[in-house]
Amino acid sequence: MRTLLTVVWLVFSCSVVVAQTPTFDMAPERKELTPDPSRIPEASGEFVETDEVDEAEAQPVPIRYLMEEPTLRLQGETAVREWSIGLTPAQAASPAEFVFTYSNSIVVAPESSLLTVEINGTTLLEESPRGAEREQRRVVKVPSGTLVSGGNRVRIEARQTHRTDCTINSTFELWTDVSAEDTYLSFSAQSANRMTSLRDIVAVGTDTTGLTRFHMIMPSMGSAEMADIALRLSQKLAIASGSESPFFSFGTTLPEAVGPGEMIVAVGFTEDISRILPGRVGSSDPNQARFLTIPGDIEAQALVLSAPDLRSLKLILDDMNVQGLVRQDEVPFVAPSGSTRFSFADLGVTASQFFGRRFVTSVKLGMPADFYASNYGVARILLDAAYSSDVLPGGSFNVIVNGELGTTVPITTAGGAVLQKYPIRIPMRHLTPGINIIGFEAILPTQVDNSCIPGADVTDTPRFALFGTSELIIPNFAHAERAPDLAAWSAFASPLDASGSRLDLSLARYDELTLSAAATVMAKLARSAGAVIDFQLVAPEVRAQADNVIFIGVADRLPAELLDGVVLTAVGDSADDIEQLDNENLELWNNRITQPRLLSWFSNVGAWFKENFDLDASIAFVWSDGDSLYNLPSTIDTFFYQTVDAETGAIRTIVSAASDVQLVNGAEAFARQTNWSQIRGVVSYHDILTDEVVSIEPSSAQFLSVRPLTFTNLRLVLTNWLASHFILYSLLLLLSAVAAGFATNKLLGVLGRGHEKHEEHE
């Protein structure tokens, strides 16, 4: 009945549009908007249409949010997102519905666009995007057998075409947003979300913002011992959950409510815990971590670790064996030495044909912590691809490394081409230790685009085909661990994971907020390292020792000399802002004045040099290697700062903020993997205003280890170092040539004829 009504409604609403359109003289649109009954998904009967306001959770059903970020945007003509979620056996077995809510840009032409959602290869949803005017919500029954216990692969794909425009730029206007708040799995079995073993933690999931929230209830926190337990436990939980973005908050009492993606963890002495969870604590085996249902309103479970004394509590913690989620989207890493060849198929890019004008795909690639080739290295793509004869010269292939344009190869020949192992050189300038995203883009303009005849777009001949046999070749590059290098630290917890090295952890206080930040950071590090990181808590003071230290706490409460290298700008201290304003004005005026021809030629040449060689007058002639101060703006919360002790070589990583609240806010921001993965350089901070992570590269860095200690590696390390000190390279080359010149002259003096000239004279 409802289906029928919807169809009637749809037809009606469309006819209204049809009635209106004659006032515009846009014939094509009229045609496009004519409904095509065969394409209306509701008619298939497979889908269950619900209106937005319909029966909105009359009674709470167990649900599992799916998104790892607040909003997932699928942009361009083709966009694919793929990730893994963990489910418990109970969830996998339960009948489930899939709720999917999205909206899309008004310029997306529905009849030639398609939105597809798959879980574990089963298509749950396939429809023309209709969310141009208001959010669309779909509820789909998940076929039984689709979901599995453990890791499940979610894949969302959008193919979108533009209603009116055929330019390359117009493809950027195409988007579909998936709402994290209203996209989830709901389970019929009321007990589906119930956890029974530690393994089930893998299904804790995310909240509507993509975070996994652990509420740590510790009635007796405040001591180093309890902090030690908390920080070890949080690492285990992060690993057990497999969550990309775990966040820990601390308290002494139960929260008022918990939702999906949240988990209560109660840790403490038995007597304290039984006060919080009256009547429950003694009921099951008290010698191990266990799930208890919390009585009363909040209808939730808690993971409980309780023991009469510290020693037993530690034992319980040590007995907690956790396994991470087996994710099906593991990122391939380059080989530890030598060059590595990946076929695109290995990297998850399969053969694809493309009919649009801007083809985009991307791969993830892990670089090791000792990656040290960003100044000189060149990777290569050997492209197996083809483009049709329609494609005009002027198109290009672009490679984008971590969001920065790496290479542009213009398409210069008309008439199409089949490219076999066509080499594209990619400077490794923008690669960093950890996971890198390498995007490949093909810009494919055609004559048809220029005239932009509506409907001509939908052709059977693809413009472009990319083959999975294409290869990405990462050459043997320089391996050297350096500090400060927050990229390696955040991506691998490096160099902390080096065997034998002991990590000191120093918290400014053992209060709720500091512990929250510390637990989140340690959890992220444990996720990065893939294992629990051993540490020992020490007092927050600077000691002359060779062990690496992480300091976490509000800036005021940390030893003052730790932060010698950074300048925190207090709020209202806005000399910078004035200067910035002045600079903007100057720029404005510069733009207004028409430059004399010669001058503009010079500035063009300058721009060419900048573009081709990353070279401008300022860096060519200034070479500073001294310690410099890093200025932090007033609009930040948490910042990371790494220094190396000049005497002992200990690496000190400082996680700090101006206030408690900023520290926790920052910790929550950095809990998100998208932010965490951008930590690099010597200083990284989260800017509140822009919600962006900003990093500052160190003016100098110290080598920790160069492995393998081979001639080849040393040579490459030297190359990279010299490439960042290129004036020095020039001088070294010059000097070595001068020396060789003198030596040659000496040698020529004793070789061959000529030197016996004097004897001949006699």
């Binding site: 066509y422 081709n612 030297l718 040539a737 061959g752």
Partner: protein, 727 residues
């Protein structure tokens, strides 16, 4: 021990330098570095350093070249699976690497050219060795031979100690008995004529039975009939100066293992290229780079080699090697190679002691070069110098350099074609961006020009090497290919030196040059077109188009080379100052000889009696000869005259009637080798890279226009000139 230490230090320095050069540095560092290094080279070059600073300059230049090699090798080759790009790409790469190899070989050879040697120790009249002077001839006319023989007879050396031999291969029994009646008749006539000439001049005539092993066989025949301790060889057109033996003989007594004293070939007339481009008077001749620098460089490594003429050899050494080697058609270099490998030494004296003639026509010039190229290829094939036993390592490199040089037609040809592959067919045979081209290729080319200029600056002007290589390549390429295919096939072809160009005309082998020029011109048009229609690859098009433009400049200049100018002056006039008397109608007038060539002379006569000297008047010229000829009279004919107060300026043509007259002419022109040196020095100055380049562009534009004019107005090419004959 000291040598070992120095060598060790050198190895260390060189290793460090090469280590830094071969770092896979990024383009930015490369750009900054080459900028700084090139600046260093330019500043150093400005001071024209000697000794160690010269080596520093060369090392700096070398570093840029090597950086280019490293980058070119590691980053620019097209992928193997694109054969359309890869094959030509690889060829271009090999051609470039060949050029770099040759650059380094020549750097080694001329690393420190030997300073001029001290004069040979005073000769003791009693113990002077006996000398046989060989003048091998094949088809040169009697008059030309007469001058050479006369000059040889005039040599300042005890008369009983030397014998002059005319070794005639044009009058052998084989020729005289030829089935070809005309050939037999010509040979018979030549036999009689030359025998008479030799009788008159008092020298020995020798004609063998069979024409076997060409020039080498002829010389060996001479050896078999003579007994002198030393053997001097002069080509039929190479007249020796009087002091030839005085300057050379002494060295043989200093070094008992010396087998060769080689002296430069100095030419008193321009080669066809010099004549057609009109550069003879002010630009150093092509061969001056070889005789002015390279032979001196070779001499440092005891590798100066025999150049077929103008040399003195030791009979003992030749006996050991069983005479001159005749395996290749360049018997001279082959003989030297053989004797060097047997532990004999050679030296080179950088004083012109003979004056010779260049071929007159472009075609015969090419014929001569084909022989050299083919001969050197044969040596490469039959006795590859690098693996020749008995040679020192330095000698191996030197001979490698000398022989491999003649492979230049291959790279030249590839350099010519490569830009066309991109401009016409859009092939990507060199994968690099415009920026990389700038950071690597341009700096390499500038470094290369600077190195060449600081090595050879005053002996070879910028772009002249390229021009000579280009004009030879077109016709040498097939010659070199044919010898590679069939190394025993080439036969000795005698270069004609007696032709002349009587009117402006295009050379008979000029056609390919025009074809290439027009193809390059079209490519230039395509460049312009693509710059406008394909804005997305302007940088590559600019680079390749610029390269093509360079080729076009060379090709344009070559049009001037093959447009043969009418010859005004038959041979180079040498300035002299000799007291003389001129007789007309039985009366003697005092006079002074101002300049002289093989055929004519300029004379100042002290008289107001201008009527006595009308054009066409016959007269006699009398002067004191330096040599044995004593005071002699030489018949002349007045060809022009101009009165200037007391002085009458006349031009006259020599009318020699007998051998004595030839001796007088030879005395006038060849007696004093100092004047040749003066003339050479007047041309030896270095315009520098920038000025030289501008000068060359101007020359090229002018010659392009002239070549096109000739194409329109002087198309008939002379078919009557005989360029060569089989020997």
């Amino acid at each position: 021990m000291r040598l070992f230490v120095i060598f060790l230090i050198w190895v260390m320095c060189a290793t460090v330098m090469v280590f830094f050069i071969f770092l896979p540095i990024d383009a930015r560092t490369q750009l900054v570095t080459t900028f700084i290094v090139l600046l260093g080279v330019i500043v150093l070059k400005y001071f024209q350093p000697k000794g160690s600073m010269r080596m520093v300059l060369l090392a700096l230049g070398t570093s840029i070249v090597l950086r280019y090699v490293y980058w070119r090798t590691t980053s620019t080759l097209p992928p193997v699976n694109q054969p359309m790009n890869f094959v030509p790409g690889l060829l271009l790469y090999l051609a470039e690497m060949f050029s770099v190899c040759m650059l380094f070989l020549s750097l080694f050879v001329v690393s420190r050219p030997l300073a001029p040697r001290p004069p040979s120790p005073g000769l003791d009249e009693q113990t002077l060795p006996t000398v046989d002077i060989f003048i091998p001839t094949y088809n040169e006319d009697a008059m030309l031979l007469a001058h050479t023989i006369a000059a040889a007879c005039n040599i300042d050396y005890p008369e009983e100690k030397f014998t002059v031999w005319l070794l005639d291969d044009g009058g052998t029994e084989q020729k005289r008995g030829s089935m070809n009646l005309l050939e037999a008749k010509t040979a018979e006539k030549r036999y009689a004529e030359l025998q008479l000439l030799c009788q008159q001049l008092g020298i020995k005539y020798l004609a063998r039975e069979k024409n076997e092993h060409a020039k080498a066989g002829n010389l060996n025949n001479g050896l078999a009939h003579s007994t002198g301790e030393l053997v001097a060889v002069f080509d039929a057109d190479h007249a020796p100066a009087r002091d030839f033996l005085k300057e050379t003989v002494g060295h043989f007594s200093t070094d008992p293992r010396l087998f060769l004293v080689q002296t430069p070939h100095f030419f008193i007339n321009p080669d066809p290229i010099e004549r057609n481009l009109k550069t003879f008077q002010h630009m150093p001749s092509e061969n001056e780079m070889f005789y002015g620098i390279i032979q001196r460089g070779l001499d440092k490594w005891n590798a100066a080699f025999f150049c077929g003429s103008a040399a003195l050899l030791r009979r003992e050494a030749l006996t050991e090697s069983e005479g001159f080697s005749g395996l290749s058609i360049t018997e001279d270099c082959e003989t030297a190679l053989e004797l060097h490998s047997r532990g004999w030494n050679s030296i080179y004296i950088d004083t012109p002691l003979i004056a010779g003639l260049q071929p007159e026509t472009f075609a015969s010039f090419i014929g001569q070069r084909s022989r050299w190229a083919q001969g050197m290829m044969q040596i490469m094939r039959f006795q590859f110098p690098l693996f020749k036993r008995g040679l020192s390592f330095a000698q191996r490199l030197c001979y490698l350099s000398s022989t491999m040089f003649w492979l230049f037609p291959f790279p030249r040809f590839i350099f010519l074609l490569s830009p066309l592959l991109y401009l016409f067919f859009d092939l990507q045979i060199f994968t690099a961006s415009g920026g990389e081209f700038m950071a690597y290729t341009v700096s390499y080319m500038v470094a290369n020009l600077l190195i060449q200029n600081s090595l050879y600056g005053s002996f070879r002007w910028p772009w002249i090497s390229e021009l000579y290589e280009y004009v030879q390549s077109i016709h040498l390429l097939p010659a070199v290919v044919s010898v590679a295919v069939n190394p025993t096939k080439p036969t000795f072809k005698v270069t004609a030196k007696d032709e002349s160009v009587s009117q402006n005309r295009l050379s008979e082998i000029s056609r390919p040059f025009f074809v290439i020029f027009f193809v390059l011109l079209i490519a230039f048009g395509v460049t312009i077109y693509r710059l406008y229609t394909e804005p997305f690859k302007v940088d590559i098009t600019l680079v390749v188009g610029g390269w093509n433009l360079l080729n076009l400049l060379l090709a344009g200049c070559a049009l001037g080379v093959v447009s043969e100018r009418r010859e005004r002056q038959t041979s180079r006039r040498v300035k002299v100052k000799r007291r003389a008397e001129v007789e007309v109608d039985g009366r003697w007038y005092p006079a002074m000889i101002r300049d002289v060539s093989l055929r004519d002379s300029g004379i100042q006569i002290f008289t107001k009696d201008t009527a006595k000297f009308p054009l066409g008047a016959h007269a006699n010229l009398r002067f004191e000869a330096h040599g044995r000829a004593g005071k002699g009279e030489l018949p002349i004919e007045i060809t022009r005259s101009r009165a200037d107060g007391e002085i009458l300026d006349v031009g006259c043509r020599f009318m020699p009637e007998d051998a004595g007259h030839h001796g007088l002419v030879a005395d006038l022109i060849f007696a004093n080798s100092d004047q040749w040196k003066l003339f050479q020095n007047s041309r030896r100055h270095n315009p520098g890279v920038l000025r030289g380049t501008l000068w060359f562009i101007r020359l090229s534009l002018i010659q392009t226009v002239r070549g096109l004019q000739y194409l329109l107005f002087h198309r008939q090419s002379a078919q009557d000139s005989k360029t060569s004959r089989d020997g």
